[in-house]
Amino acid sequence: MDRCEHEVMTLYLARRAVVALLVAVTGVFLLPSAPASAHPLGNFTVNTHVGLRVEPEAVAVRVVVDSAEIPTVQAFGATPPAPGSAEAVRYSEAECASMAEQLVVDVDGRRAALDVQSTALVFPPGAAGLVITRLTCDARTTEPVETVGTTIVVSGTPAQDRVGWHEVVAVGDGVTLPSSDVPTQSISDVLRAYPEDLLQSPLNQTGARLVVAEGSGVVSGGTTDDGRPSPSVPLDPLTERFTELVGSPDLTLLLAVLAFFGALFLGGLHAFAPGHGKALMAAYLVGQDGSWRQASLIGASVTVTHTAGVLVLGVVLSTLAVTTPERLYPWLGLASGVLVCGIGTTLLRRAVARRRADDAPARHGDEHDHDDSPDHAHDHDHEHDREPAHTHVGTAVAAPPVPHRHGTGPVHSHAVATDARGLLAVGFAGGLVPAPSAVVVLLGGIALGRAWFGVLLVLAYGIGMAIALAGTGLLLVHARRRVQRWAVAPGGAAWGGAAFSWLPVAAAAFVVAVGIGLTVRALLQM
């Protein structure tokens, strides 16, 4: 079996392993979600959330209406329209317009008209195969309105006469609210988790009275988003489609599997978006002349870090009601950039040191030793006899110019340890900044009461990213080997050997440059 066959085999096995993993993971995560539960507040409640955000020259209002199974049937009949369909859009626009019309925002006694900015409508699954409705309306005051120094009185909140949970929250953004008769945070997590305290009745807030004063501009608490981390993170249409898929009222196994592979694909695609760690990863792998094992380690590290990062961000966003994840991103970017700088510097130092040590002649052997990853060397000794390039290896091992790097036993274990650390760090840096679209998918899942599914999709997303990143890196490594084999072969280009001996240094320098770039970008965003 030559190398090419071997790699095909490895790829095949890897693919089988991935498929097996997917099947296992999908099964585990889909089973518990099978029995749908009734609406926590009763089958015919209509629950409302009115989130007010007072800015110096505007009032932004988010209205969320969570209707249980019966009112959903009352509104749509037995089969609700597909999310995003013309009927759904018509319904949400009409409902939001009428809510904006009925909601009275009095600023010092003068009513400020509201404009609906955006609407969203989803149908999370309910009991008995029925669905429930979650309508979100975002509105803003039509005309600029000076709020500082005024008293704002809000009334006319929707569905007051219907049985259910009715809450109002208010925060200042760029202003403070020294007096307010409503809380700053939703204790129901914006109608997602109703408190089950024995001594707590459903809220019944139907208005608010706010005194507005000059202030720091720090958002104090706030109305969390309905599945979208922030309007300032624009969603590509693909992700939008995808979130809709997750929100589809009847989630069949087929649909779930499709969504899983969709997430895998999106993750892969995301890895190719500009500004991602793929250049870094490729540089690292090329510089170190990486193997499958190294690439998989990086991949695993990316997946784990990215998944954990998205989950942490998801927890932060959905529990702490932070409105502005974009404030978090530069920090994560900075951490990632500093980490990459560190990795690059280490690599650079090592590469330069090695070049100095290797100023002696046996350069080819040096390179070719690195060419072979440990498992090749151990498992496939017979290959060395067949491939011409490996005859050099034999020579090099026979006459090691730098003993501590070329010994047989300890060399490999040392290399593995060093590599594992670096590889994990590279993967960590690559996965540290959560992809906004993954966060959206997760929050979408949570919003729809399908948190586990959201988590599963985020995992798939990370795996997709990892496969794409590691794959790119390996392709480049492969290309490098081809070029190198040609360049250093007898009769090849005379400059080849010299160029390749500089490659690790160049790659390390590139990694440092990427790290500096990331750091500067993060700092500029702050």
Binding site: V312, R421, L424
Partner: protein, 442 residues
């Protein structure tokens, strides 16, 4: 150094699945709901107007229990208040909360705690578990033979089980112990069951006079109006409903009563608007069916189908949460031609209890299945207390007509229309037509 960093890397890797799990758990909020939800319960003696009073009472009790968590009577009262709220809102979590509140009360005072026992009986009745309601109420009576509420709840259970003699005895005991609003309203219902509508009216008037809370007053006003309506006295009914609404505009029952009168008077636009508002506010199956029947009688089949669809969804939800379908559901299914479903619902009820309402529903389901001989037996059993119900008489008459018992059918249908010519917008005309074919009223 290297090892330490490696350890750190492994810790990070090992932590990932934990984060993963924690994440999943933390996000789960709002998911799991106990399956013990019950169907909307609306029956004589359980309607509560002005849920705001109730909410205020609940808030006061909650505040007290936060200060005094050992107050076992307050825990029992809170449980009962939750049951009362659940009857208005059909919120199944309130039943669960009520259950927990009673358990807390019994935790503090496990022995001789008749308050908690009465509460549990009340909860059992609300969940249509009348036999267990009776047993619990009997335990409460055994603890305190002078607990008037215990007798009241016991009589509720016994009435639903069809054990009328025992029920009336328990009710008499309640009246002897504390002749108040609760006793009078129950007494009024017992007169109504026995066909003494004048006695029912007079007793309900006493309840209204004795009532002090707006909720009680609205409730008594509604029943006085409804008693008038059930005898076809639209003027009296309308006066009662509108006077009541003027004072208690938030009362759901009074709004429904007014919609019925408007429908009976033929003021279709106003009636439909009133009905639509009512079922928007409180979409309980029995009201949805009644509104659907009214729309059908107007020839507005499409709108009727919308209401029936909502009622069907409510039925689906109730069945899924393991609730025995109500007798109204059996009658509705029979009217919709879903014979097997109707029979199953009625038989399930009949196996549990034999009240006159269950007999009537079972008779109607059997009639729909073409088993008229058996149906007549049960239709006559529904009549065993002498209840003057237009609907009972209509069902009996139609069954007799199917059996070719023309003379008896003619008497029954005449009786139905004499009791209340407006008893159903959909079936009163059917009764009239059938009666014409039989030779007109007796």
């Amino acid at each position: 150094m290297t090892r330490r960093r490696l350890v750190a890397a492994f810790v990070a890797l090992a932590l990932a699945p934990v984060l993963f799990l924690v994440g999943g758990v933390a996000f789960k909020g709002g998911g799991g709901v106990p399956p013990s939800g019950a169907a909307p319960v609306v029956e004589a003696g359980s309607l509560t107007a002005g849920s705001n009073d109730l909410a205020a009472g609940v808030t006061a009790l909650q505040a007290r229990l936060k200060r005094l968590p050992e107050d076992w009577t307050a825990w029992a009262s809170l449980g009962s208040a939750y049951v009362a709220q659940a009857r208005v809102t059909a919120d199944p979590t309130l039943f669960v909360k009520a259950d927990e509140a009673f358990a807390r009360s019994l935790e503090v005072r496990p022995e001789s705690n008749d308050y908690a026992l009465v509460g549990q009986a009340y909860l059992a009745n609300a969940r249509h578990e009348f036999a267990s309601g009776r047993d619990l109420a009997e335990q409460a009576v055994a603890v305190d033979a002078y607990d008037s509420t215990a007798y009241g709840v016991l009589s509720d259970s016994l009435l639903q089980l069809g054990e009328y003699d025992a029920a009336f005895a328990a009710l008499q005991r309640m009246l002897d112990l504390r002749p108040g609003v609760s006793a009078f309203t129950r007494a009024s219902y017992s007169f109504e069951l026995r066909g003494d509508l004048e006695g029912a009216r007079a007793t309900m008037q006493r309840a209204l006079d004795a009532a002090s809370s707006p909720a009680d007053k609205a409730y008594a006003s509604y029943y006085l109006g409804q008693l008038a309506f059930d005898t076809g006295d639209l003027d009296e009914a309308q006066a009662r409903f509108e006077q009541g609404l003027a004072r208690y505009p938030a009362s759901f029952e009074l709004a429904v009563g007014r919609a019925r009168v408007l429908a009976a008077r033929g003021e279709a636009d106003e009636a439909v608007a009133a009905w639509a508002r009512a079922v928007q506010r409180l979409p309980q199956a029995s009201y949805l069916v009644e509104f659907g029947d009214y729309l059908t009688s107007l020839g507005r089949d499409e709108e009727a189908a919308e209401q029936y669809a909502v009622a069907d969804a409510a039925g689906l939800l109730a069945r899924e949460s393991g609730v025995v379908p109500d007798v109204e559901v059996a009658i509705y299914d029979a009217d919709q031609g879903r014979v097997e479903q109707a029979l199953a619902a009625a038989e399930a009820q009949y196996a549990e209890r034999r009240s006159v309402h269950v007999e009537d529903a079972y008779a109607w389901a059997l009639h729909a299945a073409g088993r008229d001989t058996e149906a007549l037996e049960h239709a006559l059993a529904a009549q065993r207390l002498g209840t003057r119900s237009a609907l009972f008489a209509y069902h009996r008459g139609m069954i007799q007509a199917s059996l070719g018992m023309d003379a008896e059918a003619r008497v029954s249908l005449s009786e139905a229309l004499a009791i209340n010519p407006y008893f159903s917008p959909l079936y009163a005309p059917v009764a009239e037509q059938e009666l014409d074919e039989l030779g007109g009223p007796v």
